[in-house]
């Protein structure tokens, strides 16, 4: 019983890794791995959002959509749930003292207008990603619902997926930090080498296929 759920956690984190197996959450990855601290923060935040929204999604699916045969409304329902979770998280984050979290009073529309401003960019993007949750959150919810799990199984899966995503963010941030010190050939500098590195991570992780069942 416990071993079974532990396998689900491991499977969710490693063999069904959101970033490296399903290529979702790359927006979060690109925007927050410039520093280890931002990546850690983002990993925790997206992890919590992902866990909460997939859990809520599972409950809605089980108690509302499935009994009334409304499963075709799964996607809009998930979007609503994720929106609500992100709004809740935002409200919570805004209460944190300023030194840790710059309050962002701007609306989503003005976010995009401000993207070009160098200084505002990381904060604005982080907020935007927390709000939307990135593609990873909705992918996780859909993947979990597709497996038709019980409530405990869905908790195990979402914990695993959140941990996997957070780990990839942190490991990638550390690797990026290391690359910053190096002289990379000009043709590969920046995005190409990051994509190459991401490919290597996906390749390495594919070696673990099969370990979770």
């Amino acid at each position: 019983m416990i071993a079974e759920h532990l396998l689900l956690v491991i499977g969710g984190a490693l063999t069904a890794n959101l970033t490296l197996t399903y290529l979702t959450g790359l927006d979060v990855l690109a925007e927050t791995t410039h520093s280890v601290r931002a990546a850690t923060k983002m990993g925790v935040r997206v992890g919590i959002g992902l866990f909460a929204s997939s859990l809520l999604g599972c409950m809605v699916q089980r108690f509302v959509l499935a009994p009334y045969e409304l499963t075709y409304l799964q996607l809009p329902a998930l979007v609503l749930i994720i929106g609500a979770v992100c709004a809740g998280m935002r409200m919570y984050l805004e209460r944190i003292p300023q030194s840790e979290q710059p309050p962002d009073e701007r609306t989503a529309a003005s976010c995009e207008a401000l993207c070009d401003a160098e200084h505002a960019r990381p904060a604005v993007y982080q907020q935007a990603i927390t709000l939307v949750g990135g593609s990873a959150t909705i992918a996780a919810a859909l993947l979990i619902l597709r497996a038709e799990p019980t409530l405990i199984q869905s908790i195990a899966l979402s914990v695993g997926m959140a941990a996997g995503l957070a780990t990839v963010l942190i490991v990638f941030a550390d690797l990026r930090q290391r690359l910053d010190h190096l002289l990379i050939p000009r043709a590969f500098r920046g995005a190409p080498v990051h994509l190459l590195l991401l490919g290597m991570m996906a390749l390495a992780l594919s070696g673990l296929s099969g370990i979770a069942g």
Partner: protein
């Protein structure tokens, strides 16, 4: 026109600093070796690494035929060819002197390691794909050996394992079990023209254990002569020889004891914990895991590569233990029979994180940089 294009290409690949990075300091000399009174030169390091690899390679050849040596020759040839190509693109004045094995140990060693990992007598193109990936993507895309985040040899090996899984499972039967020794000529033809369909192949011991779960260990050993006494005929002897080579590396002070020690210990402990001496589902005995597959090669020659492993002692211990645990996990639960390449790649990618978590100085510098942003 063509000249202009070539110049542009060259400029795009050019590295900002003068192309003198392939020098003695590029040698994988560990901190311990650097603090020696007379640091080893590049040529010396290469020579010592090759000396350490020779006994194991010879034992392999004795058991698996001339294909091992043709593998080494062909893979090293391709490694040099791709190195020359990469130098042509990255530096203004490529010369044969720069691709001489003495200038950089990372020239021949990846080719050699790939050759030992692939089945003996692999076709030339397989070795070319593996060496090309290792040299071009694993090394030069990042600007040279010292910058590479993963072990180039294992990258090349992993790519061909993913692309041609069938080719990599056709190991010849070891001599003494079934007569499969081929002449040099036959091996050369095989390498050039593709594998011989009539060749006697046999599952490697790890393959055998992976695909025969649910048997009694004793029955499996009686039914399969290639399992030998502990880790498989040929494999156990080769692993013992690589262990000797590894001890030589320790004596030369090219590596420190931390990574091999932690790796072998974690593999032994895990194997001992899960092995129940009866069913083959529980994975082999600790001896089997230590003496089968690429364990010793990984412990002393692959995981210890200084550029892709942590530099501090605690980090090294953690890194080694991680590699050992991953090898055991992949061997017993994963889809691949031997997890050495995957384990090393995964641990390589985690190395910066391990280093940051175990070294307060690095942790401070990283948080200072974050602060500055």
């Amino acid at each position: 026109m063509a000249g202009e294009a070539a110049n542009e290409l060259r400029a795009a690949f050019a590295v900002a600093r003068p192309p003198s990075r392939i020098d003695a300091s590029a040698a994988p000399v560990k901190k311990a070796a650097q603090s020696e009174r007379t640091p080893a030169s590049g040529l010396q390091v290469t020579r010592r690494l090759i000396y350490a690899l020779i006994p194991g390679s010879l034992v392999f050849t004795a058991y698996f035929g001339a294909g091992v040596l043709t593998n080494v020759l062909v893979a090293c040839f391709w490694a040099l060819v791709f190195e020359f190509l990469a130098l042509l693109l990255t530096s203004q004045s490529p010369s044969f002197a720069r691709v001489s094995p003495g200038s950089d140990p990372a020239l021949l060693i990846p080719g050699w390691l790939i050759a030992l990992g692939l089945p003996p007598g692999s076709p030339w193109w397989l070795l070319a794909v593996a060496s090309g990936t290792a040299v071009l993507l694993g090394k030069h895309a990042f600007g040279g050996t010292r910058n590479s985040p993963v072990n180039p040899a294992m990258l090349g090996y992993a790519v061909v394992l993913l692309c041609y899984p069938a080719m990599l499972s056709s190991w010849p039967a070891p001599s003494g079990v079934e007569f499969s020794m081929r002449s040099w000529l036959a091996t050369a033809i095989w390498t050039l023209a593709g594998p011989d369909v009539d060749a006697i192949t046999m599952a490697t011991p790890l393959d055998l254990l992976r695909h025969n779960s649910g048997y009694l260990m004793a029955d499996l050993f009686t039914a399969s002569p290639q399992l030998g006494a502990a880790g498989g005929v040929g494999w156990q002897e080769a692993n013992a020889a690589f262990l000797l080579g590894g001890i030589a590396l320790l004596r030369y002070r090219l590596i420190t004891w931390h990574i091999p020690g932690a790796l072998l210990l974690s593999l032994t402990v895990l194997a001992a914990l899960f092995y129940d001496e009866g069913s083959s589902t529980s994975g082999g005995s600790p001896f089997f895991h230590l003496l089968s597959g690429g364990t010793m090669l990984a412990a002393f020659f692959i995981a210890t590569e200084p550029n892709t492993s942590p530099r501090n002692a605690r980090g090294k211990l953690l890194f080694g233990a991680l590699v050992g645990a991953l090898i055991f996990l992949i061997r017993t639960c994963g889809d691949y029979p031997d997890g050495v390449a995957w384990a090393v790649l995964l641990a390589n990618l985690c190395a910066p994180t391990i280093e940051r978590l175990t070294d307060p100085v690095i942790q401070e510098s990283v948080s200072a940089r974050d602060e500055a942003r």
